[in-house]
């Protein structure tokens, strides 16, 4: 299952402004099956990923550390 979320980077480490980026996240098949089979709330740990983002003002790349629940992946 894919969903799009928007994250806000403020302040941008390159230009100091505020930028919004849409993030597409996919839930792994196993997590979806568990969620469909049980009514229990899904307690899961969180993990960190480093995402490369582009500052739209100065066109320079920077990195952001994002925290995602386990079982979720960021896709292109």
């Amino acid at each position: 299952m894919a969903a799009t979320e928007t994250i806000t980077i403020s302040p941008c480490p390159v230009c100091g402004g505020t930028h919004r980026y849409p993030m597409r996240r996919d839930q792994s098949y196993g997590s979806e099956v568990i969620k469909a089979m049980t009514d229990l709330p899904q307690h899961r740990g969180r993990r960190r990923v480093t995402k490369f983002l582009m500052c739209p003002v100065k066109q320079v790349m920077f990195q952001a550390v994002l925290e995602l629940p386990d079982g979720f992946e960021l896709s292109a």
């Binding site: 969903a3 979320e5 928007t6 994250i7 806000t8 980077i9 403020s10 302040p11 941008c12 480490p13 390159v14 993030m23 996240r25 960190r48 480093t50 490369f52 320079v60 790349m61 920077f62 990195q63 952001a64 550390v65 994002l66 925290e67 995602l68 629940p69 979720f72 292109a76």
Partner: protein, 166 residues
């Protein structure tokens, strides 16, 4: 640089993704990014280069095998049916492997738009997958051909050099 708004409220419209920290790209991560770019671009070419290399190998294996057979076969020799099949099989296997590698070498015959990234990604994935399958299949056929060819040559060479029965 810590992001001051990482309580999930104004930072994201959804609670799931949180921004922990932002910073300029470190030299290590810059190198990783460049490595990723190289992988993305070269992954198609590597499969194609391997297929091209193996086309030459398979094409060369056929005359080499025939030359070896001519070298080891005695002047007058009659073959049984099974010996004949054993000697011809490697040639067929080399030819099959050659065809498989040629299929892997050719580009995909499809049209796609350069404007849509997902379409390019899908075409890239299909091409890599096809080349991967052709490479492995062709290599396995070639390997079997090598083994059968070696057995055929040994089966002909050994009896022809052995002592004749009393």
């Amino acid at each position: 640089m810590k992001n001051p708004n990482n309580n999930g409220g104004p930072n994201s419209t959804y609670e799931q993704i949180k921004v922990v920290e932002t910073s300029p790209t470190s030299p290590h991560n810059e190198a990783l990014f460049e490595a990723g770019k190289a992988l993305l671009i070269q992954s198609i070419e590597i499969g194609r280069d391997f297929c091209k290399f193996m086309i030459s190998i398979c094409a060369g294996a056929i005359p080499v095998y025939l030359g070896l057979l001519k070298f080891v076969l005695p002047e007058s020799h009659t073959f049984t049916t099974w010996q004949g099949i054993l000697m011809v099989t490697p040639l067929l296997l080399f030819a099959c492997a050659l065809v498989v590698f040629v299929c892997g070498f050719f580009p995909q015959r499809s049209r796609f738009s350069l404007d849509v990234a997902e379409v390019i990604e899908e075409e890239r994935r299909t091409t890599i997958s096809r080349r991967y399958t052709c490479s492995w299949l062709g290599f396995c056929i070639f390997l079997v051909g090598l083994v059968v060819g070696a057995l055929a040559i040994i089966s002909v060479y050994a009896p022809s050099t052995g002592a004749s029965p009393p």
